[in-house]
């Protein structure tokens, strides 16, 4: 039931000026959730709609379960689709919404009733069959929409920002529910989201898109630890950006110097991405230590068990540091203190001047 997408391209507009997807290739493995992650306008929804058959590709191929279905009508592809807006039929009861696909297929009433009851139990809303969508909350509506998509027993489930219209608390709850739900049904799922936390938590395989192209695909760890481009590094986790130059094979950012990228020329400009939790802070020692810089803590903000520190480096650059509250207490540092800073890790990219 895997989904294989090869070289998928789609242009919108009469002049074809806007390429929503160009040369997108990826594989969504059987029985897992694959996330299409990217900022708005990156073409992730377009790719999903192409897989669904809601749009026709200009180029490329789509295979579901080993069968090429690029030109197959949507109804023959065996896919279920859930929309960000739920798209429930407001004039039908929950029961009729879920049973819609089966009624269209002219299944006997008893079979439809049994299937609807089974799905209502699966989405943890038993007894809701007689209600109308307007009587449900947003989270409940989306679960009904998922039940409706599953009623036709799709080979693949496609979710287009399913929790995008919900508030933060319900989002997190539904995310946990979806993870559990997907494990129990085992249906191959492709999830479109702009929320990296959602993608990382739900899927083992993440496809990151930018401007209609796949910039990196792999496990959440791959993307997080080995970002392929500056875009990936900055998109995943609000990183600090430091500018510098290559000197003797090392990337020198003034305050810090780390191992430069392999093969970088001397004098080349570099851009380093440093995560807030990858900056180490220590109390200053008496004698200066090599490669450790003095800096000033300008502001400390506690967020739950973590502390966010605004730190002004010796070079005048401001960086954000994140530490555990217990760690800050252990160090005994305060706002206004001078501290030593060091990098645990940085992703360094040589600046591209072709832009």
């Amino acid at each position: 039931m895997s989904v294989v997408v090869q070289g998928l391209s789609k242009r919108f507009g009469r002049q074809g000026e806007a390429a929503a997807a160009s040369g997108v290739s990826f594989t969504a493995p059987t029985g897992h959730i694959t996330s299409l992650l990217g900022p708005s306008g990156s073409g992730k929804s377009t790719v999903l709609r192409l897989v669904a058959g809601l749009e026709e590709p200009d180029e490329g191929r789509i295979a579901i379960d080993g069968v090429d279905c690029t030109t197959m009508p949507a109804r023959s592809r065996g896919v279920g689709f859930a929309f960000q807006s739920y798209a429930l039929f407001d004039h039908m009861t929950v029961h009729d919404n879920i049973g819609f696909g089966l009624r269209i297929r002219k299944r006997p009433r008893s079979e439809i009733d049994a299937k609807v009851e089974e799905l209502l139990a699966l989405v943890k809303l038993p007894g809701y069959g007689g209600r109308y969508p307007s009587q449900l909350s947003g989270g409940q509506r989306q679960r009904i929409a998922l039940a409706r998509a599953l009623a036709i027993q799709p080979k693949v489930l496609l979710l287009d920002e399913p929790f995008g219209a919900l508030d933060a608390r319900v989002r997190v709850e539904l995310r946990e529910w979806l993870s559990e739900f997907q494990t129990s049904t085992g249906v191959t799922t492709i999830l479109v989201t702009h929320d990296q936390e959602e993608a990382f938590e739900l899927s083992e395989h993440v496809v990151l898109l930018q401007d209609g192209k796949v910039v990196q695909a792999g496990s959440p760890h791959d993307l997080y630890d080995r970002p392929a481009t500056p875009f990936v590094a900055s998109f995943l986790g609000g990183a600090n950006v430091l500018l510098g130059q290559i000197r003797d094979g090392r990337a020198d950012m003034g305050s810090f110097a780390v191992e430069g990228p392999v093969g970088a020329e001397n004098g080349a400009s570099v851009r380093a991405f440093v995560r807030p939790q990858d900056i180490r802070i220590e109390k200053p020692t008496e004698e200066p230590v090599a490669n450790v810089q003095l800096a000033r803590i300008e502001r400390m903000t506690r967020i739950g068990g973590n502390v966010k520190l605004a730190v002004r480096l010796g070079t005048g650059e401001a960086v954000t540091v994140q530490m555990a509250k217990t760690e800050v207490e252990g160090l005994g540092i305060e706002q206004g203190d001078r501290v030593m800073v060091d990098l645990k890790e940085a992703k360094v990219f040589v600046e591209d001047y072709t832009i």
């Binding site: 929309f83 409940q140 998509a149």
Partner: protein, 311 residues
């Protein structure tokens, strides 16, 4: 948020208070003037129609309506409405669907053309059909050779009325469709529904109030149209005379009871339309207000009262 609200609200209320604090006599004068205007220009004429219709008693009123020619005009008007309303329902829904769901070359031109019947004088609308199908018109010789009569006959009246009332359903349905978007149709499509099944099970139920609203307006206009019909009908009494035309003829013949009796029927139609319009408007408003409720917690067990409490 709540901390920022009070000052804004107080500014607002001060301004509102300023508007409402006109001296009482100014307020009464303005309200009185508005009411007097409505009475003079709407209520008095409305009452006068019924007063004149019943000037010689109910018997004369009934006799005037039962008059052969008046009765035939009523029948013809109903016939026109019965033909034109379903036609414009079909055209209107089809055009609205096309304009709301698809992008194509010349879309804005089509949008402008839909409004054409409203921007052209009804007399000109009628004249267009005379120039096309009349004896001296483009298709006149062909039609007379084949014994088909359109102008000065029922088909001409149907054509002219359809033309004049076309925008009513299309405009109304288009607005509703654009407001709703097409996600439900796509959902039905993904669930395997065919085009007709989507139209029947999803689209029509969704737009039903908009359609009804358009149909009510279309019906009222179809029955009351004078200008365009006057040009194409030929005023053949007992054959091609609709109610508005009959009113004019009766009035010109100084048969005031007859004229006002027929006019009273059209007036009743107008009043009924207004009432229906209000009822449907309220239903449309209710449908639009049904916004999603902000999320409540997931029920992992089965608290049936949970969703009820969430509203």
């Amino acid at each position: 948020m709540s901390a920022a609200l009070p000052p804004i609200r107080s500014v607002e209320s001060r301004r509102l208070a300023g508007v409402a604090s006109e001296r009482p006599w100014v307020r009464w004068l303005l309200t009185g003037a508005a009411l007097a205007f409505v009475a003079a220009f709407l209520l008095v004429p409305l009452a006068l129609v019924f007063f004149e219709a019943f000037a010689k008693g109910p018997a004369a009123y009934l006799a005037a309506i039962a008059d052969d020619e008046a009765f035939s005009a009523i029948r013809l008007t109903l016939l026109i409405a019965v033909i034109v309303v379903p036609l414009n329902f079909t055209f209107g829904v089809a055009a609205a669907w096309l304009l709301a769901r698809y992008d194509f070359f010349g879309k804005s031109l089509l949008l402008a053309l839909i409004d054409l019947p409203f921007s052209v004088s009804p007399v000109i609308s009628g004249l267009i059909f005379v120039l096309l199908f009349g004896a001296q018109g483009w298709f006149g010789p062909f039609l007379s050779d084949h014994g088909i009569s359109i102008i000065f006959a029922v088909p001409g009246i149907v054509l002219a009325t359809t033309f004049v009332t076309f925008p009513l359903v299309a405009r109304e349905v288009l607005a509703v469709m654009q407001a709703q978007g097409g996600a439900e149709e796509e959902a039905a499509f993904m669930l395997g529904a065919s085009g007709w099944q989507i139209l029947w099970h999803v689209t029509l139920p969704k737009i039903r109030w908009g359609v009804l609203y358009g149909v009510i307006l279309c019906n009222a206009r179809a029955m009351g149209e004078f200008g365009a019909v006057s040009v194409v009908s030929g005023h053949v009494r007992g054959q091609t005379n609709t109610m508005p035309l009959e009113v004019e003829i009766l009035y010109n013949e100084y048969r005031f009871v007859g004229a006002f009796a027929v006019a009273s029927l059209l007036t009743l139609l107008a009043v009924a339309t207004l009432v229906l319009k209000k009822v449907v408007e309220r239903a449309v408003g209710r449908q639009r207000r049904e916004a999603p409720i902000a999320g409540d917690r997931i029920a992992f067990a089965l608290p049936a009262e949970e969703a009820g409490g969430g509203q």
